[in-house]
Point group: C2
Chain length 297, copies 2
């Protein structure tokens, strides 16, 4: 389950209410494309902006429409007891695994972060993906902290941020992480612009923002690298450079929502306020990139 392409769909809102129908369509699009797994309620899926009942409904909707494809569900929250409740809900909804980032308000020390993962993994009946997302959590994992946490029971995969752009440095980085984690734990790259480099450097899985909206595009890159055709994977990533430039300029979260809105997959204004969707020139630039790169699926 923790190899290949894990696609992170957007959780669209319509007038501040979860748009179940559009979400179901997004999930079915991923099933048709044949992604390896679906991660509901990742950062792209707005997990921190939804309440417990909404998150339960998103998880249930994803599982209901995912068919045979395993669904991972994000369970991050600020308080350990809330995380445990979300884990219970995700498991009851039929999640095949859960994904946990150590979200912070007060900064946390390494022992506190380890304690969170210890408290949560001990009660799980499904595997857990450790989610290292420093841009939103403001937590910096050391390799030693990776080692401590991935040695916990039920930890199956580690989602790392982007790798260095230079292939040899990327390989060294992935090798170094691998030396710190148990052999059964898969390593997944995130930061979509890093995906080809990360997969070519030996990452097992791409935890992909764009895969949730443009699964065929993301699969082309993933399949090439996993088949050993590193040149083709790199070429596809290079072709997508205008998309990565949008991510750098506006953030992958808002750009992905704008793409889904532009393609008519979700209604306009699908992000949770106070976050605002892209407007004006930024939105026109997204449309231009979608057209020029023929990003339809």
């Amino acid at each position: 389950m923790f190899t290949g392409l894990s696609a992170f769909p957007h959780s669209p809102l319509r007038n501040d209410v979860f748009d179940e129908e559009s979400y179901a369509s997004l999930v079915m699009r991923l099933v048709t494309a044949g992604v390896d797994s679906i991660t509901a309620l990742g950062s792209t899926g707005s997990y921190m902006y939804l309440d417990r009942a909404e998150r339960r409904r998103v998880a249930e909707t994803a599982v209901r429409h995912a068919g045979e494809i395993p669904v991972l569900v994000g369970i991050g929250a600020l308080r350990t007891s809330f995380v445990r409740h979300l884990a219970d809900d995700a498991q009851q909804a039929g999640a095949s695994a859960v994904l946990l980032a150590p979200v912070t308000y007060q900064a946390l020390g390494d022992d506190e972060i380890f304690g969170l993962f210890e408290d949560v993994t001990s009660g799980l009946s499904v595997p857990l993906v450790v989610y290292d997302n420093p841009g939103t959590t403001h937590v910096s994992f050391s390799d030693e902290l990776y080692a401590r946490i991935t040695a916990l029971p039920n930890v199956a995969s580690l989602k790392i941020p982007g790798v260095p752009a230079e292939p040899r440095e990327a390989r060294a980085r992935v090798d170094s992480i691998r030396a710190h984690v148990p052999s059964g734990v898969s390593i997944g790259v995130s930061g979509d612009a890093s995906a080809a480099t990360g997969l070519n450097a030996g990452c097992d899985v791409w935890y992909s923002v764009i895969g949730g909206t443009l699964p065929e595009t993301a699969l082309r890159l993933t399949r090439a690298s996993r088949a050993g055709d590193h040149v083709a994977a790199t070429a596809e990533s290079t072709r997508l450079e205008p998309l990565w430039a949008l991510f750098r300029d506006f953030g992958s979260y808002r750009v992905t929502a704008a793409i889904a809105e532009y393609l008519g997959l979700v209604a306009a204004d699908s992000l949770p306020r106070p976050v605002r969707g892209l407007e004006g020139d930024a939105r026109r630039r997204v449309a231009r990139v979608v057209e020029e790169l023929e990003l339809r699926a």
Copy 2:
């Protein structure tokens, strides 16, 4: 209401459940001391770690025990609609004002932060305090953003982070902020180590962490400065330097909880996991500072 000492009590937990009895005692302690206002559910009051029902109960408990002293209630949350619900709850609980920090998961731009305050203030029937807390929200307010937001209806006060340590620089900073905000908007200093300098430099109010647990100590400093005795205020702040050193080393949030626990005001282990209370040497150092500075009230 937005002058003098606003005391921020800790919201203690006991086995992960809000400890209403201890909280009521903390609030009554503030009433006895005669603080100018009480801010329930500030950062010190763990607002981001409590769910809506818990926050309603904290607000109700504070109002019930505050007597004639006005109670401000923190309403920060990640989604605008959640903030509006919390504002409704706070007003129904009898809050005299609300306090709002722009909490982030995805980083927010200035227009999004302004939009949050615009959406929330438009529905209020009580005044609002703008809460600038960059250490936890990861938002940097510019003076221009202060100006835009404090010009909104119902904005009554601005809680700023610490001021420069040098008195003339502190005065220049406060004057500069005052030039950007409407004359009716009070300016409040936070960062307790900065309080004397901030009040001496013309801040109207001290939004005080330590005031929620040691109100008499905080009032001595506040009353001296507000009466024009800047020397006495500075002397009291200098006397408290070992306390400020603890804040620098371990954060005011954990230190304040440790003091309340040491004084027997709340049960042990009163913070929400994954946050852990201070242990070992750190906890012993807190006890030593409490004894040496005679921090009893």
